[in-house]
């Protein structure tokens, strides 16, 4: 009965579009043209403006269309490489703001994919995910700055080349903290789990804020500054192929952009493979029905801890990268709102579905960094130009409100997310007219 139910509008349109594009050379021509046009308009219009924002989003939208279209996989990869590996970085030399936005989006993609392992795959609601991100960030911040001397007298910062090793350290410590959080919450479900993880996230933030005495570990509310950036071995080569002389900051912008891109690609690969393995299937089984999962011989404790650990390790890794990119971190960076923001990416995009989660992360990042501030800006300039907007109304104040409204609308009209997991697509629209399992069992 569920298979015959009409598909939701958006998905139907997608299917029709991709069906249209999949036939013959039409798809190839369309996608190439699309890439060409958006790239050119982007490169010809590098000023930071609403128009550029829109073109930038259309440009990124290409990746989604490519993903949903039935064209040769080699062609897909080629388009992706051209868009993300050539056009976007080159555009970045014209306007560094956008490459920074892209890097931020990439960081959130990796975080959302990690959280998706816990929430989407294993069905364990985690509201403290940012804690692992914080742990990774603080590890590198402490060890790469004189802060280490404040903590252990006489200790000196590690050479900045150790950054590459600390990416793995972040991964392992993040994973260890994930397991640590997992241990006390194993018996909890749903709301209780959410509350305890929320508490855990806050505890880590408060610790970061207060561990400047008796031993100064985190430097408290002042945060840690002058965090070391890794040496770039290939800076000479980059400068050689660069169309203009790049200064250090620009070089690092590229460096972090590509580093995040690589980590995101590796993350996508890892979570994709895990999902279709005995481990991923066990997680989904636990999410679907714990009792039935145990009856198949799945050890609940081990698999749940593994989900917490794997999910947290991505955040630990990204924390290290984030600290080096940002040069300065302080406790408010890792507040509850960030956890909730990452969770909203996962849910908005499509709980459990990897492409959906990527889309959600990019979308929410763009919303927060570009679209909403831009709307506020436009409203403000409209106000000063004499459009009758009440004096007390400050548009910047209403950004979060707009975001909240968007979330509410999404949850009402498309609760399964923009790109839901195929398995999940029907479920949420159906539970009204389908008898529950319990009542079906009771009549048997």
């Amino acid at each position: 009965m569920a298979t015959s139910s009409p598909q939701t509008g958006g998905t139907g349109a997608w299917d029709r579009l991709s069906g249209l594009l999949g036939r013959g050379p039409g798809g190839y021509a369309f996608l190439s043209l699309y890439l060409l046009i958006t790239s050119l308009t982007l490169l010809l219009n590098p000023r930071t403006s609403l128009l550029t924002d829109v073109i930038f989003i259309l440009f990124l939208l290409l990746l989604l269309i490519v993903y949903r279209t039935r064209v040769h996989i080699g062609f897909k990869v080629a388009l992706g490489v051209i868009a993300l590996g050539v056009v976007l970085p080159y555009f970045g030399t014209l306007n560094p703001y956008y490459i920074d936005v892209a890097t931020q989006a990439g960081i959130y993609v990796a975080l959302a994919l990690g959280l998706n392992v816990v929430v989407g795959f294993a069905g364990l609601l985690d509201l403290g995910y940012v804690a692992f991100y914080a742990v990774g960030a603080y590890i590198w911040s402490i060890f790469s700055t004189p802060q280490i001397g404040a903590m252990i007298s006489g200790a000196v910062p590690v050479p900045n080349v150790w950054f590459y090793g600390f990416i793995l350290v972040g991964l392992m410590i993040g994973g260890a903290f994930g397991v640590l959080l997992g241990l006390p919450v194993l018996r909890l479900r749903g709301d209780y789990l959410a509350i305890v993880t929320l508490g855990f996230g806050e505890v880590i933030r408060v610790l970061a804020e207060n561990l400047d005495k008796p031993i100064n570990i985190t430097n408290g509310a002042q945060g840690i500054k002058d965090i070391a950036r890794p040496p770039i071995f290939f800076s000479g080569a980059l400068r050689a192929i660069g169309l203009r002389q790049l200064d250090d900051n620009q070089l690092y912008q590229f460096f972090f952009y590509f580093m995040v891109l690589v980590i995101v690609l590796i993350t996508v690969m890892i979570v994709g493979r895990l999902k279709n393995s005995r481990i991923g299937r066990a997680w989904t089984a636990i999410r679907e029905d714990e009792t039935a999962a145990i009856a198949q011989g799945i050890p609940l404790v081990r698999m749940k801890l593994m989900a917490f650990g794997v999910g947290a390790s991505f955040a630990g890794t990204m924390g290290v990268v984030f600290a080096a990119k940002q040069l300065f971190i302080n406790p408010p960076t890792f507040d509850l709102l960030t956890s909730i923001s990452i969770l909203s990416m996962v849910i908005l995009g499509g709980l459990g579905n990897i492409p959906g989660v990527i889309l959600g992360a990019v979308l929410v990042t763009l919303l927060n960094l570009q679209i909403l501030p831009r709307i506020a800006e436009i409203l403000r300039s409209a106000k000063s130009a004499g459009v009758p907007i009440p004096q007390s109304f400050d548009p910047t104040q209403y950004q979060r409100l707009l975001f909240g409204l968007l979330l509410i609308l999404m949850m009402i009209f498309r609760p399964e997310g923009i790109l839901p997991e195929d398995r999940r697509r029907q479920e949420l629209h159906e539970d009204e007219d389908e008898p529950s399992e319990e009542s079906a069992g009771a009549t048997a």
Partner: protein, 263 residues
């Protein structure tokens, strides 16, 4: 040889003795039925065997090993699998994935091999898929392997649950009302399937059933529970003519009608 020996099992919920001092021995290679009126404690007894409940008294020995202190997943890994009275499939997974989950204890690829997609992992996954499809053919569901479990008709769901249980290569399979809610045709198919479990796969079968015709045709031994107590045991003939069984099913005073099978 006894595959399973449960001795003096007692389980009390609050003030209610759901299972009362039940002793049951299951011979290797047999088909055994556990019957009894609603609320007699049959499902509770299964839950004790599979480790979901800890008994208040009594021991269970499975395949020569005491399993009293083991977790349900450990017991499942030893080769005791079950189906549930109110079907518990992984609804949003495909038919094939459900069976693959059932194979969990037979898949050992370490996480590193999964991330690297090592040849040994691909071989293991390939074997698992082949085996799962074999089992789906065994229960005639292979043509539906890519459907979501929740979209299957009722009878198919029951058979999928059996295929999932078989995926663990069990020595013993416990079926909790495998034909509940089925029409006579489906019940007949299910009866044949249960027989084939034993005859073709060599799995020992214990089933809880309310359909007396099925119970009588298929089982070599029958145990009857009533208010948690085992009130009779034997083959179909013995059970059919046991006055206590008739009384349990039809109420006091019905014992005089001995000879008529309780329906």
């Amino acid at each position: 040889m006894a595959l399973l020996e449960a001795t003096n099992i007692t389980k009390i919920f609050g003030g209610l003795t759901a299972v009362n001092d039940v002793t049951l021995t299951i011979e290797q290679g047999s088909i055994v039925s556990v019957i009894g009126p609603n609320g007699a404690g049959k499902t509770t007894f299964f839950n004790i065997l599979t480790g979901i409940y800890k008994p208040d008294k009594g021991d269970v020995i499975f395949d020569g090993k005491p399993i009293g202190g083991l977790r349900p997943d450990q017991i499942a890994a030893l080769g005791m699998r079950r189906t549930f009275q109110n079907i518990r499939l992984f609804h949003n997974m495909t038919v094939l994935e459900n069976v693959l989950v059932g194979m969990h204890t037979h898949l050992h690829a370490p996480i590193w091999n999964i991330i690297m997609r090592s040849p040994s992992l691909r071989r293991e996954e390939g074997r698992a898929r082949d085996r799962s499809r074999e089992l789906l053919r065994f229960v005639s569901l292979d043509n539906k392997r890519d459907e979501l479990a929740k979209n299957l008709p009722y009878g198919d769901q029951r058979r999928l649950e059996i295929a999932r249980a078989l995926a663990g290569d069990p020595k013993l399979i416990l079926l909790d009302e495998p034909t509940a809610g089925m029409n006579p045709n489906e019940t007949m198919d299910a009866t044949n399937l249960i027989r084939r479990l034993r005859d073709q796969l060599g799995v020992t079968v214990v089933l809880i059933e309310h359909d007396m015709r099925l119970v009588m045709t298929i089982s070599e031994r029958i145990s009857v529970l009533d208010y948690g107590t085992k009130i009779a045991e034997g083959d179909g003939q013995v059970i059919r003519s046991n006055p206590r069984v008739i009384e349990a099913y039809l109420g006091k005073g019905a014992a005089g009608m001995a000879g008529h099978p309780p329906a």
